[in-house]
């Protein structure tokens, strides 16, 4: 994680700093440099034409004055929390389920992984058609669940849950895959020991599988939480942030300000907020969970 320090005993025999040079170069060129540029742009007035004009902190003041910003921040937070809950609640048990050997499970897994093979834009176009209230799936399913006219993505309250559904549907297979792989890594001896101790299947799941999946749970959570800050193209295509601003989450707000309103300066300020949020979130998750200590759960094995 951290560059090697000279003289430290712990670093003896480790590769020198020069090994990290290509990565540092890439990171500097494609991460640090744009980050610096976006911070600079957030302090300028820039429509994309000509050169950015220095403005100072006006965009940052406007940020505090922008009701859509706070609304989109809240919607991003809600989408993050709910999609974490929704995806984990399904992906974890499903991953454990398909980790066990069996042909029917393998077939099920193959079908379930389909969304992972599709691009985000394709998924969004597919769902846009399914959500058509007159001719799509929405017209069939709607009456079953009390939405007689199939008005899902056009409803200011339901549109948000539609987005949650699509985004979760899109990323769940990936997390299932993580849990499946991790479950297969759990040493068999643990289950044998548990069986000898008289543990049933539920007890084995709770006392062996779950604790062993702890690191995977953290990895998956970090990916979901940080990844949710980049959910974007699916919403842009299905609802465009609407109806009104009902599904305008922070990344989408940034895009619309930058590439529809051509207010690059303000969009950059929003981008900086996103950047800070993403970094803070991922730090927070790894700190709280103790992931950074790289502790093992395999002691004694």
């Amino acid at each position: 994680m951290t560059p090697a320090r000279h003289g430290s005993v712990a670093t003896a025999g480790r590769p020198g700093l020069v090994w990290a040079a290509p990565v540092l170069l890439f990171f500097g060129l494609f991460a640090l440099l744009p980050m610096g540029a976006v911070v600079y742009l957030s302090l300028t007035e820039y429509s994309g034409i000509g050169t950015p004009a220095w403005l100072g902190g006006d965009h940052w003041a406007r940020l505090l004055d922008d009701p859509i910003f706070f609304d989109s921040l809240w919607k991003s937070a809600a989408l993050t929390a709910l999609s974490w809950l929704f995806q984990t609640a399904i992906a974890l048990p499903l991953g454990v389920f398909i980790a066990a050997p069996g042909r029917s499970r393998a077939l099920l897994a193959a079908i379930f992984f389909m969304p992972l093979l599709l691009s985000g834009a394709a998924i969004a176009l597919l769902w846009t058609t399914l959500f058509d209230p007159n001719f799509g799936l929405a017209s069939v399913v709607g009456p079953w669940i009390g939405v007689e006219d199939g008005n899902f993505i056009g409803s200011p309250t339901l549109a948000f849950y539609c987005i949650l559904l699509v985004v979760s549907w899109q990323f769940m297979p990936f997390h299932t895959l993580l849990y499946q792989a991790a479950t297969r890594q759990i040493p068999h001896t643990l289950y044998e020991a548990a069986t000898i101790d008289g543990a049933g299947r539920w007890r084995q799941f709770r006392s062996v599988t779950l604790p062993q999946l702890r690191d995977t749970l953290i990895t998956s959570s970090v990916l979901i939480v940080v990844g949710s800050l980049t959910y974007f193209e699916v919403i842009l295509i299905i609802t465009g942030g609407g109806p009104g601003t009902a599904t305008r989450i922070l990344p989408l707000h940034m895009y619309l300000e930058g590439f529809r309103s051509f207010d690059m300066g303000y969009a950059s300020a929003l981008a900086v907020v996103l950047l800070a949020l993403g970094a803070a979130l991922s730090l927070l998750v790894t700190r709280v969970t103790g992931y950074h200590r790289m502790a093992s759960q395999r002691e004694g094995l």
Binding site: I49, G50, T128, F135, S155, I237, P243, F259
Partner: protein, 440 residues
């Protein structure tokens, strides 16, 4: 083209967004300075992708290059990425010499940045070229009395399209000419359990068309001109509020059904309603005809499609012959071009040439050129093209789509707010106040 100009090409846009930071520092970046701009004779023309139209454009370029020993080159783009690309290129060393634009506010921002070469002088030297364009269309390429863009493709007025079978079933003999008759028709259509109007309300620009026509009929084109000019109080004008009230009346009367906010234009959601007879009509730009022909050819072949002007509103100050829509798209010359003279020469020699105009008509466009009465009537869409051509020719005013005429940030706010009025989250008065505030 028509559809492409409207279709939100979200895929490319999505990719672009990921590049926000890189795109934003494009002007300071290295760009392509090494390969372009150094050899004075190379000229670049940027336009939108459209198979039929691109062929006609390329033919004009080939003719020009041959006659003038020049090397003008065409590059094509998809709609939404193009807007971003153009915005970040104008004023940079990568700027094109001739570029496609939407006229109005879109063009004005480039003019304000001193990036566009004026064309008035060249047009005065070529009066036959100047007089060939329909004046109401050329107006949209004009900023503060100076022409900066010339029309380069067809006119796209907005009108009603209706299903003749459904109208007959409801016992409506002719498309209503006045608003009272129109509301009668809405009731008659509801009586036979048909949704009177198909509306792709998940996209704000389809809803905007109603506001555009209401304001034009109620207050005349001056009301929107005041809005474009940024006059204080223009959005709070009684005619704007009244227009929005008429929107609410239509919505409350159930004219759009209940689930219009979920319907999408790009996947033919509203067209399917119209052609299947579940809805009776749709207010749309002239691209609707070619669009329907692509997606529902049997509907066009059966001759079930009718079209009609937006009805007159009794007591309104506007002329019922006035229209709204996209007058055309325009070519402008970059003032930073290495050879402004040659670029202007291209526009003067090609845009009104017989070959170009004829070619445009062959691919279904209705050029903004005077004196084509006999020719536009030929071909598959002859009937409609004649209708559209005469409508534009005889219109006392042709108001440009508001989302093109207004600055991009204001038009985004407007589209969001219009959706909220249609969905009952905002009142007409709140709309006027919110827009007035955003415009200041």
């Amino acid at each position: 083209m028509a559809i492409a100009s409207r279709r939100r090409s979200t895929i490319g846009a999505a990719v672009l967004a990921l590049l926000l930071t890189t795109a934003a520092c494009g002007t300071s970046g290295p760009g392509e300075t090494g390969s372009e701009g150094s050899s004075g004779a190379d000229l670049h023309l940027w336009t939108l992708q459209n198979e039929g139209i691109n062929e006609v454009q390329q033919a004009a370029i080939d003719r020009f290059n041959e006659e003038h020993d020049a090397s003008l080159e065409m590059t094509t783009y998809v709609n939404d990425p193009y807007k971003s690309k153009l915005q970040t290129s104008i004023g940079s060393p990568n700027a094109p010499d001739i570029f496609y634009n939407w006229g109005g506010g879109n063009l004005e921002q480039y003019v304000d940045a001193d990036q566009v070469a004026p064309l008035t002088e060249a047009l005065d030297e070529n009066p036959d070229v100047r007089d060939a364009f329909l004046p109401s269309v050329l107006d949209v390429g004009t900023v503060d009395g100076e022409v900066y863009g010339v029309p380069m493709q067809g006119v796209q007025p907005v009108s009603f399209f209706y299903n003749k079978d459904v109208f007959a079933e409801a016992g409506i003999e002719e498309f209503p000419a006045t608003w009272t008759e129109f509301m009668d028709a809405v009731d008659k259509l509801k009586a036979i359990d048909v949704q009177p109007i198909a509306l792709a309300g998940s996209q704000g620009w389809t809803e905007l068309m109603y506001l555009e026509y209401f304001l034009d009929r109620l207050g005349g084109p001056e009301k929107f001109q005041a809005i474009v000019a940024g006059e204080p109080g223009a959005w709070q004008d009684e005619a704007v509020v009244e227009s929005m009230r008429m929107v609410r009346e239509l919505v409350d009367a159930g004219a759009f059904g209940t689930n219009y906010a979920s319907v999408n234009y790009d996947n033919q959601g509203s067209q399917a309603l119209l052609t299947s007879g579940r809805a009776a009509m749709e207010l749309m730009g002239s691209w609707e005809v070619t669009g329907l022909n692509d997606n529902f050819p049997e509907f066009i072949e059966a001759g079930t499609l009718g079209w009609a002007d937006f009805p007159a509103i009794e007591g309104g100050a506007g002329n019922p012959d006035s229209i709204v829509g996209n007058p055309s798209n325009f070519y402008s010359v970059s003032s930073q071009s290495d050879d402004v003279e040659a670029a202007v020469e291209f526009l003067m020699t090609q845009m009104t040439s017989d070959e170009y105009v004829q070619g445009m008509m062959e691919v279904g466009q209705v050029p903004a050129i005077a004196g084509l009465e006999d020719q536009v009537g030929e071909g598959t869409f002859g009937d409609f093209n004649t209708y559209a051509y005469e409508m534009v020719r005889d219109a006392p005013s042709f108001t440009q789509s508001w989302d093109q005429a207004l600055p991009p940030d204001l038009s985004q706010t407007m589209l969001t707010n219009i959706q909220q009025v249609f969905n009952g989250q905002m009142t007409p008065e709140e709309f006027a106040d919110a827009m007035e505030q955003a415009a200041q």
